[in-house]
Symmetry: D2
Subunit: 266 residues, 4 copies
């Protein structure tokens, strides 16, 4: 069983800021948002976590292995370098969806996302080292079979974008509704799902569903690890195996570069 630690990262009072004193130029906002996410991705990634944009004013992270100090350090990074602040709430559970819901509720209890009074709240607790195990995080990494040949090199760029996004939405809804897994589009034709110990059957069934409803053929590599990064690298290796062997589903085995056990001094 997994024990995923999920953190909600929410910019404080961001909507009003974007139109104060008057609407800010959209490309300045885009540039700032994407840089901020890039900085958070660096911070989280070099601590073996994963973080995804969920509207940019919200980001969702898998933070197994983080301390509360790490989360506070991440907040400071924003507060000291950006014109906005960020609240963070963290919770753990055997299902990623439940953990994130708990983190969300705890943050909502501390004030509205558009309250001028709520600033850089930090709530929740991270896992203690003794609570951690090598099966805490399961990552499933999907991509589209022959995406370039079937779509990018054939369709208009917007049709490709819409097609892949539609397949992603279908996959996301199914994995969330049936399994409480959280899927995120991460660019190109790639979707990463944070899963609660999904079986091969469940994954194949989702792939079948996307094929039959949207007409897009997906494949998936999955991995399990003590951190998102450990699990994710296994998943990526498994997906490479799919590519080389022409298979639709593979499970990753131990990746030499990733720790299989909780690190003792990190």
């Amino acid at each position: 069983m997994t024990n995923t630690e999920m953190a909600l990262l929410q910019l404080d009072n961001y909507g009003p800021w974007t139109v104060t004193p008057e609407p800010r130029r959209e490309m300045h906002l885009q540039s700032m948002q994407s840089r901020l996410y890039g900085d958070i991705a660096q911070f989280v990634g070099t601590r073996d976590g994963y973080v995804f944009p969920a509207g940019f004013d919200n980001m969702v992270a898998v933070t197994n292995g983080f301390t509360i100090d790490d989360l506070e350090s991440m907040q400071n990074l924003v507060a000291e370098r950006y014109p906005v602040t960020m609240s963070v709430s963290v919770a753990s559970g055997d299902s990623p969806g439940t953990a994130l819901a708990e983190a969300t509720t705890a943050l909502q209890d501390r004030g509205s996302a558009q309250s001028a009074d709520r600033s850089a709240v930090l709530c929740g607790e991270t896992l203690r080292p003794t609570e951690r195990s090598p099966s805490d995080v399961q990552i499933a990494h999907f991509d589209v079979v022959d995406a370039i040949a079937c779509y990018t090199d054939e369709l208009s760029a917007y049709d490709t974008h819409v097609t892949i996004d539609t397949a992603y939405a279908r996959l996301r809804d199914r994995l969330y509704e049936r399994h409480d897994a959280l899927s995120f589009f991460v660019g190109g034709d790639n979707v990463i799902a944070v899963c609660p110990g999904l079986s091969e059957d469940a994954c194949m069934s989702a792939i079948d569903d996307v094929r039959s409803t949207v007409g897009v053929e997906l494949r998936v590599g999955s991995g399990t690890g003590v951190t998102a990064c450990a699990a994710g690298l296994l998943a990526k290796d498994a997906l490479e195996t799919c590519r080389h062997h022409g298979t639709l589903i593979e499970q990753g085995s131990h990746h030499p570069g990733a720790a299989a056990e909780p690190p003792t001094n990190e």
Copy 2:
């Protein structure tokens, strides 16, 4: 009638790069992609254009007012600072969708997105100053009525994300299929559509459709201008008017800070 100049920005051979020599850490990819987009957004935005991610390996820009030298300068910015290169193709037309399709075809003719031989292609032509007019670009800026109170402060962060994304997908598909308009999610509860001179009726009809099918209430401000930025600032002002007056649709009139006519020396 609009005359939108659309550019397709495509990273060359990006998929293979992400797994060479072995799969790269996802957060490094995320960080690089989002920084690259942030740099492009700065470049495009300070030249009064708009650019949107469409899978990150592809970006779509509205470039009315750019010269070919500007586009080449944008390519160099990537080539000289990132470990990847970027091809650019540009075309204009009275419909954004048709213009982008033409730009896509021209680039596809120059080689596959995953060809190791295609690198930093630049093709197509920008509008000559004499071809430009104050009605060249129409921007419609949508957001969700009471998004924070109804969703962010109420639902789990993932449910909010899914709900807004579902509304966006419905809006996008309708505007594209019926009007050849190109819509992009830009963060929070905001969607920006590049439109071919859409009527108020067409916009209200799309809003009605999203309400009745997805249950999400949208509102929209629109603007027309000689550049994406000029049109977009009018649209943002109009959306502010919606917020203050409680209306669902407004059209922007001339924004003092934006040029209504093609600049003579820029």
Copy 3:
């Protein structure tokens, strides 16, 4: 005779900000400062200017070819994405030092660098197109002969740093005191000087002086152009010629990729 347009870029009230409400972590400041300079360098560079840090809270730019709108756009870039604002003052003259001094005085007249009231001032005037000519900017690009073999691969990293910095300081002081030229260290063993039409004799004399006083052998390529970038690329090409021919001084001739005349539509 040159006609260099120099802009002073000064962060407003920056010192107090760095210690409010308490001293900010140094690495957050470093990270923000260097990102901000990186963004300004992108903005200025893609408009064919040059910009150098002069303490980071001050930056000095060569902006021949910019409009006042460009400078305002550059200010907005900071104001909308960073937690600080930036004032800009611009002036032109046949000597870079005099032009910068005039720009400085004009800004000082508008309020102290540490006044909480002064924010995003923009003052001065840019050159009109009719005032511009292909000999407006002279750039001299110096580096150290055999820097890697003599220093980097031989001395402790700090000794290398000190040695090159000492040579730079000597060069800088001489060029400034005798010729009103402004020199900036730009990394590695490279120094770029913005010059008022320096002769070969003046450059060789400075090189001789650094050799005899500091013991470091410099070489230099110089170029003249309508913009800093046009002049700078000629200078870089000339410096490459020095490297290949073993000479200490070369003058660049027309670079095919750089405009020799004021562009008509930029």
Copy 4:
């Protein structure tokens, strides 16, 4: 006695890269260098270290508390997101200068900074937890008394830059030659010195020397800690005390936000 862990970060074969296939535009180089340093500063800073540019192709870090895995992770951050790679060498000693010299020699033994064969070397060893103590790092943070009133608001921007840089060079040379301390200019009128347990007398003597030779009045706050950040925050607090009390030298006592002892779980 201090036990400073110093790391040399050196871009591999960077000089040749900047002119291949032809000289790259200077502002692209500046932008890339400053972003890279900004990323390293974020990485190092959120791990309680300090890092300084020493020509940008070289950076110098104080890494007490890092593991070798941290250093490797820092290298990967560069390799996966930038078009260049970075070698790292680390060593410790009771004097910062000696430690850095040892790190430099070890890297030189692995190949030239301009060898096409040397790429992303990692050498040396970090301190074991048992070797660490609360007095490992001493930081002295200098600034100029009344810098804004005396210089920024009075002199031309270039004169201010030259004056402060001249004072910095004098301070740097004295602290290095007499005490093997490593000083770095960090922006504005701030200099940070990594010291081997300097006495108040030694600091005052350096301040007296700069006043009498360059005519610039410095003041200094110092602190000692288990990491650069812990020591540096104490130093910053002490410097604030100087500002408030009008004193020239203060020593920081325990900062509530910084760990005085080696953290047990980081």
